[in-house]
Subunit: 138 residues, 2 copies
DNA sequence: ATGACTGCAAACCGTTTGCATACTG
DNA sequence: CAGTATGCAAACGGTTTGCAGTCAT
């Protein structure tokens, strides 16, 4: 809360209740919500909040580098306050998105770099399947 | 050419010049084109082709499982006649998308399976950076 | 002949933009 | 007070859909 305020000020952005609210939703969830989900969460407490403001806030956070955008091919983006690049796994039944430990991909990154000659900037690693919960009910 | 005809017939789809044309573009390129790119390639030879037909054809091919859709977060999907799941690398400067060898990810898949308990169905592994060509010109 | 396919235009949906008003610093 | 941010509504862009006419079988 204090931190985000400081970062916004340093970068010349104004500190508004809307921005703090959007950031806090992301900071306090592990569900990787999309813009609309964030908006719906905020509506009860911020009845004048608009979806456009959510998008604009997310854009500011992305530009500052304090959130990252995930595109799992669902038609809408999800957002993550964890800016460290890490793989995600998406349940094809219940739709949840979970983090996957990062430490198993370092070899892979080295291999890709060596074989392609690209200097890697980032990666998006998405796995799809059925989570343990959904496997039970099938 | 013969093959696609056979597959379409077997599945009860009609074999039309438009479908064959769309599939051939995909079959004969390595550039992972989007729908609009396919459309533009076909327009000279198929002046009445419509973008909707390209999309509808791609949808048929996806449902049959003879192409796959890639979502690199560019706003539009790309398509690949290689249906084997394999990683891709995307140049942030010139925009090209290249294949990455598949054989280096088996360990990763085993690890993800073991650690998450998911039964993996598919994955989308995208790497982003600057290709050797673009690195030279910087 | 009949039922699926094409191609046009309109609808769709997530996201972005323009602009008048409100608020931060 | 100056200038940025909000929030509404309209625009945008890729994709999908409805439908009349056409074509594959």
């Amino acid at each position: 809360m204090v931190e985000i305020t400081k970062i916004l000020k340093e970068r010349g952005f104004k500190v508004t209740p809307q921005r703090l609210a959007v950031f806090n939703v992301l900071k306090n969830t592990k569900e990787h919500p999309c813009a609309e989900t964030i908006y719906n969460k905020l509506l009860p407490m911020y009845p004048t909040m608009s979806l456009a403001t959510v998008y604009k806030s997310l854009e500011v956070f992305k530009s500052i580098g304090i959130i990252q955008e995930l595109d799992l091919g669902e038609g809408s983006s999800r957002y993550d306050a964890n800016t460290k690049q890490h793989p995600h796994i998406h349940c094809l039944s219940c739709g949840r998105v979970e983090d996957v430990d990062n430490d198993m991909i370092y070899d892979l990154l080295d291999n890709v770099k060596a074989r392609t000659g690209y200097n890697l900037i980032k990666q998006q690693l998405y796995f799809y399947g059925y989570c343990p919960d959904c496997q039970k009910t099938h």
